[in-house]
């Protein structure tokens, strides 16, 4: 097992290396270049290119970049000329992480609770309400959801602050906006899974042994039904933590989402690569953990292809 994990980590590092290399060259294929202000004179553009080392042969730039990358140095941003990419990411990441974790907590806790209540009340009005919430949640794009939440809860009814991120009440609407889709899908999966589990023999056995309904639900039904939810969480975590652009811009939260879009729009090479390396590492390791867990959870899946 230890050997397998070690091998997997090695492969992940190679993957990240390939990813960064691919993006390095793709980014430079983009039209426009980083210094595209029409007012800049040709000499200013040349000077800027030289300043950032963009005038050197592509391969040399690539080697320099890799050298810096090994030292964890992402270089200077072209859009924010006095700030390093490390500085920009270090400043923005805490906001995104905070928002992402809150959104996930909201999504998972509410999703599970809604799913369970819904399944236990199958067919009656309560079920219908939660099913409608779940269906609504999975069928509205996040920018519409965010705009509606902000419009009604903050602007029209004044229940929450409109924007910014400087206290608990400020975090509520963005967390809901970001987590709603996940909440809805967790609740749907949980409901379906609960209904499947309830028909299993061990539940009938437990009931016929005279265990109270509450204990059966709590100890047997929910614990078994939660597995499918756990399996979708891997990709979901990544999606929530990366999908923050819309919510952040709507609620004026200074997180990383904006760099994801802005860096590409400005052809800010160092920032694009910094973002890619950062998120890429995150995603690759998420997938790695899922793969390893896959082997741990399901004994039928053999590890190592022996």
């Amino acid at each position: 097992m230890a050997k397998y994990i070690l091998k997997r980590v090695g492969i992940s590092i190679v993957t990240i290396f390939v990813l960064v290399s691919v993006v390095f060259f793709l980014a430079r294929l983009m039209p426009g270049g980083p210094f595209n202000d029409p007012k800049l004179s040709a000499t200013a553009r040349e000077n800027l290119s030289a300043y950032y080392g963009f005038d050197k042969p592509m391969f040399e730039q690539y080697l320099t970049y890799l050298g810096n990358l090994i030292h964890g140095n992402f270089g200077f941003s072209t859009k924010y000329p006095s700030r390093t990419v490390n500085d920009l990411l270090a400043g923005a990441f805490p906001y995104s992480a905070d928002l992402g974790i809150r959104a996930l907590c909201f999504a998972i806790s509410f999703g599970l609770v809604f799913g369970i209540i819904s399944a236990l009340n199958r067919g009656n009005k309560i079920d219908l309400i939660f099913v409608i919430i779940a269906v609504f949640g999975t069928s509205v794009p996040d920018f519409i959801m965010g705009a509606l939440l902000q419009h009604f809860f903050a602007i029209k009814w004044g229940l929450f602050p409109i924007a910014q991120y400087k206290g608990f009440s400020y975090t509520i609407l963005p967390s809901i906006g970001l987590g709603f889709y996940t909440m809805a899908s967790v609740s749907r999966i949980m409901r379906a899974s609960m209904l499947e589990v309830v028909q299993q023999d061990y539940i009938k056995t437990a009931r016929s042994k005279g265990i109270s309904r509450f204990r059966v639900t709590w100890k047997h039904q929910i614990r078994n039904a939660i597995m499918p939810v756990v399996t979708i969480l891997g990709p979901t975590v990544a999606a929530v933590l990366t999908g923050t652009f819309v919510i952040e811009s709507l609620f004026a939260i200074p997180g990383m989402g904006k760099y994801y879009v802005e860096s590409v729009q400005n052809n800010d090479y160092s920032l694009i690569l910094g973002m890619t390396a950062f998120y890429g590492t995150f995603l690759v390791f998420c997938n790695m953990i899922v793969d390893i867990l896959y082997g741990v959870i399901d004994p039928r899946v053999r590890i190592g292809g022996k």
Partner: protein, 560 residues
């Protein structure tokens, strides 16, 4: 209302529960107050911001993106320059068109208009206590043009003697036309005489820069509040994610006239959000997107941002090389309806090329030299006439044989403008327009002479100094900006003549150049951009201008 509060409280309570379940990472996100105490008050829509509570006068406004840098040499965007205007003090201050001495007490100009000698005041201090000297100005301007420093605004330094040559590494930096005679005397030599030079001196590019601080922080100079020193009315105390905070500079020699205690500049990407925050009293100034402006009628102010937007016609295209067709396209635009559709009628339809508000000889250029090159509502008969002539010139039988590729950036406003213009040309002339939406950076990279990537491109120009020449120099046949690929002998001659003449004669030449440009229908002027904004009642003395900054809150005051 009680019910709503209850809902809010419930939601907040459950959120607390779910938030308590997960460990929040140790972040810089401040949890200012306890959750329980906050929800009750804030949920009620309490509008008095925390800023005013302790009696401090804090002016709060927003920008759609983060401030890129507070290094004055490297700032390029107007929002960045605005910050620099307030945290630095140049030789002279251009207070919305009126010149006012700043670090320089006075200046003398040589008879040929080339050598300016500034006498500096001796009580100007940096925020760390050092005296502001002529050497700081010399270093700043040399750094601006130094190719090794690679400042994007080096094109502005071209006004100085050898400015362009220094940037191009043709002559060493030491030969730049700026020299500190002693600590308090600065001599600046220009490349060509420029009446407007002193008015440019409050632009970020010409601010003093401290050599020792630059050397201390290297490339990270200006990358944080503590990586810079200040000599202006304000100092930056916080510069980071989503926020820039300024505090009154007590060391400023004119601190008595500065009424504000501080300024808070927030990054609010969504303009609609900013307007809502203004409504809730969280901002003192908000720009209003034109679709929202009718809702705030009576409250909305506006200023010319200086940008004159036009559809640039590429004269390399065989059809667009035809003057009659270009004129037909100009007459076919109903600029009143265009403005109504694209901007709710809030921008000013532009019937000429140069912004009329720039300085003329004595007064505004537009007042001295009025011009209405095309009728406001267009002239469809004239358009048809020109079109028919053009078609026979080009040997075409039907306008539908003509198809133009119209390039536009992917911003909301630009997209709308392109849709309206394309629609009018299609309906009024019968030619075909294919709109090609590209990322903003891609569009900008197309704005070079000799390009065949577009037939028509939605574009505009903001001036660097208050003079018609700032707009007109673009289309000189060999200008590096000439992306129209416009080549007119008459136009070039008028511009050449303007360089050797002064006063009214010079202005006449510039006006003739503008007239030539429009009579050729070289481009299709559309609008003068008027930024709609709202200011809270408690703010007084706030100004807005179109060169080097947008809002001027140096002398602003807040009264409750």
């Amino acid at each position: 209302m009680r019910k709503r509060k209850l809902i809010a409280l419930c939601m907040a309570a459950v959120m607390t529960l779910s938030a308590a379940g997960c460990s929040t990472p140790s972040t810089s996100v401040e949890e200012t107050q306890g959750a329980a105490s906050e929800t009750g008050e804030e949920a009620g829509g309490d509008t008095s911001g925390g800023t005013a509570a302790n009696g401090e006068k804090i002016f709060r406004y927003s920008n759609t993106i983060d401030i890129a840098t507070i290094d004055p040499n490297k700032s390029n965007a107007v929002a960045d320059s605005t910050v620099c205007y307030h945290i630095f003090d140049g030789l002279y201050r251009n207070v919305q068109g009126t010149l006012q001495p700043a670090v320089a007490e006075s200046y003398e100009v040589s008879d040929d208009g080339l050598v300016y000698t500034f006498t500096l005041r001796q009580d100007a201090k940096w925020s760390d206590g050092q005296t502001v000297t002529a050497h700081d100005f010399e270093y700043g301007m040399k750094r601006l043009c130094d190719p090794a420093a690679a400042c994007p605004g080096s094109y502005l330094g071209a006004v100085l003697k050898n400015g362009a040559a220094v940037s191009a590494e043709e002559v060493p930096v030491d030969e730049l036309g700026v020299k500190a005679i002693d600590d308090f005397t600065l001599e600046i030599t220009l490349e060509n005489p420029a009446d407007y030079f002193v008015s440019m001196l409050s632009m970020a590019a010409f601010m003093p820069v401290r050599q020792d601080i630059v050397e201390q922080f290297g490339a990270e100079f200006g990358g944080g509040a503590d990586k810079q020193v200040y000599n202006g009315p304000f100092v930056v105390t916080e510069y980071g994610e989503g926020k820039l905070v300024m505090k009154k500079n007590e060391n400023y020699y004119d601190a008595d006239k500065i009424k504000l205690d501080g300024v808070e500049l927030l990054t609010v990407a969504d303009k609609t959000t900013a307007v809502s925050m203004f409504d809730a009293g969280e901002l003192d100034l908000a720009e209003v997107p034109s679709e929202l402006a009718p809702q705030y009628e009576g409250q909305v102010l506006s200023y010319y941002s200086g940008a004159n937007d036009y559809a640039a016609l590429n004269h390399r295209n065989t059809y667009l090389a035809n003057k009659n067709l270009r004129l037909a396209m100009n007459y076919a635009i109903n600029r009143e309806e265009y403005n109504l559709l694209a901007h709710n009628g809030l921008y000013e339809p532009n019937l000429r090329y140069v912004l009329p508000q720039v300085r003329g000889v004595e007064d505004e250029y537009g007042t001295e030299y009025p011009l209405e090159a095309f009728p406001l509502q267009g002239d469809m008969d004239k358009a048809k006439e020109y079109l028919d002539t053009a078609l026979s010139d080009l040997g075409l039988s039907d306008p539908s044989e003509i198809t133009f590729k119209l390039v536009v950036a992917d911003t909301d406003d630009a997209k709308k403008e392109a849709e309206v213009v394309a629609n009018q040309w299609q309906n009024n002339l019968g030619i075909n327009i294919e709109i090609n939406m590209v990322p903003y950076a891609t569009k900008n990279s197309m704005l070079v002479p000799g390009s065949d990537d577009y037939d028509i491109i939605m574009s505009g120009w903001a001036p660097d100094y208050s003079d018609p020449y700032s707009y007109l120099e673009l289309w000189y046949s060999t200008s590096r900006y000439n992306y129209l690929n416009y080549d007119s002998e008459a136009y070039d001659q008028y511009l050449d003549a303007s360089k050797t003449t002064t006063g009214k004669e010079r202005m006449d030449n510039l006006f003739n150049a503008e007239k030539t440009l429009l009579e050729d229908g070289a481009l299709v002027p559309l609008q003068l951009r008027e930024v709609q904004y709202m200011v809270s009642d408690r703010v007084q003395n706030l100004g807005a201008y179109f060169i080097g900054l947008n809002y001027d809150y140096m002398y602003a005051d807040i009264v409750e």
